[in-house]
């Protein structure tokens, strides 16, 4: 039995033995189902996110537990952890990023193909954490845009799963036009990324 924390205090009864992704809103009848392209692509994307682990310290150890059989991130469609940025959708930065490592994080981000998401796991990746010092980057959002921050030092596997679920929400609801929008271009420009 896991230690009671906010993630497992609320008991959620099992509805079905096997859960499947819910059907998006649409019209259906005999032999057809009509919905928007956004919803279908969002549904496909959110349930097959390939994470790219960028683990530098203890948060990476928690991530290993998250991928293990007990917590099992694979249940959420992230079975396949990729180790090439070209293949992956979600950059998971876990751990302290030294200033010298900053350009590496940035390059890995640049090598990922759009659409791409970033999750900063733990206090160090989010804000520098306890390392308020000359050698440590004070949060990876100084070099790449971040979608979800997971608090904790280090966060429990439940928290990492919660972060991934929030990423799934973002992925599922994202408009297909977002990556072409002026706002998004302005965001990337603010990081010096074309």
């Amino acid at each position: 039995m896991s230690r009671p924390v906010s993630y497992n205090l609320i008991q959620k009864p099992l509805e079905k033995d096997i859960s499947v992704a819910p059907l998006p809103d649409g019209h259906q009848g005999e032999g057809f189902f009509a919905t928007s392209l956004d919803a279908v692509i969002g549904l496909a994307r959110k349930n097959s996110i390939w994470p790219l682990p960028f683990a530098t310290s203890c948060c990476g150890i928690e991530f290993m537990a998250t991928m293990g059989s007990h917590y099992d991130l694979a249940r959420f469609g992230s079975e396949r952890v990729g180790f090439s940025p070209r293949q992956c959708d979600l950059l998971m930065v876990m751990g302290t990023i030294a200033k010298k490592m900053g350009p590496v994080v940035r390059q890995v981000y640049l090598q990922m193909a759009e659409p791409r998401w970033v999750i900063a796991v733990g206090a160090c990746a989010s804000s520098g954490g306890i390392f308020d010092t000359y050698s440590v980057l004070q949060g990876i959002d100084q070099v790449v845009p971040v979608d979800v921050y997971v608090p904790g030092c280090p966060p429990r596997p439940e928290a990492i799963i919660d972060g991934v679920l929030r990423i799934q929400d973002l992925v599922g609801k994202e408009s297909l036009r977002r990556r072409n929008s002026e706002q998004y271009k302005a965001l990337l420009n603010s990081y010096g990324i074309q």
């Binding site: 200033k99 804000s127 308020d132 050698s135």
Partner: protein, 168 residues
């Protein structure tokens, strides 16, 4: 053959005269301080002498003493005689305005990276070093972070509320 600290002191005094060094012993380890111009002569003597044979450079680092005017920066050499398992500490001091010390890379190849590290953190210029550039910190850094004139924490941060950290 065991090397005693008294014997090392005696040999150094025979070679360089009575007044040159200050000696100190802490926890059984001999520490000697010499003028910075002498560092290579002393290291060479300690290396070559048939009895002393300090031929292993365990560590080379710097210290900043901001209150000692004229000798703010120290370069510390930890030397080891592997045959008789004897260790000594050798220090030279230099001023922070002109932090120039002769490089020991000619004598110890291991000094190369250690001197680069000492330069990186304390800004000590090792005269004659073949490749004196930063080794650990980012190249763009324009200060020497372990000097005590620089605050440890990043002063440009605005999201840290002093009260929340118990120092309001």
């Amino acid at each position: 053959m065991a090397l005693s600290n008294e014997y090392i002191i005696q040999r150094l005094k025979e070679k360089f005269g009575e007044e040159l060094f200050t000696f100190q012993e802490s926890y059984g380890m001999l520490e000697l301080v010499a003028p910075k111009e002498m560092n290579l002569k002393v290291l060479n003597f300690l290396y070559d002498d048939a009895q002393l044979q300090f031929r292993f450079l365990t560590d080379l680092t710097g210290v900043h003493y901001p209150n000692r005017t004229g000798e703010e920066l120290a370069v510390v050499y930890h030397l080891h005689n592997l045959q008789s398992n004897c260790r000594i500490r050798f220090k030279v001091h230099t001023s922070v305005d002109q932090p120039e010390v002769y490089t020991a890379t000619g004598l110890f190849s291991a000094a190369n990276w250690m001197e680069r590290e000492t330069y990186d953190f304390f800004g000590i210029q090792f005269v004659g070093h073949p490749n004196l550039k930063r080794i650990l910190n980012v190249d763009e850094m324009d200060y020497f972070p372990l000097r005590k004139e620089f605050p440890l924490e990043d002063q440009t941060r605005i999201d840290k509320d002093d009260e929340m950290f118990g120092r309001g």
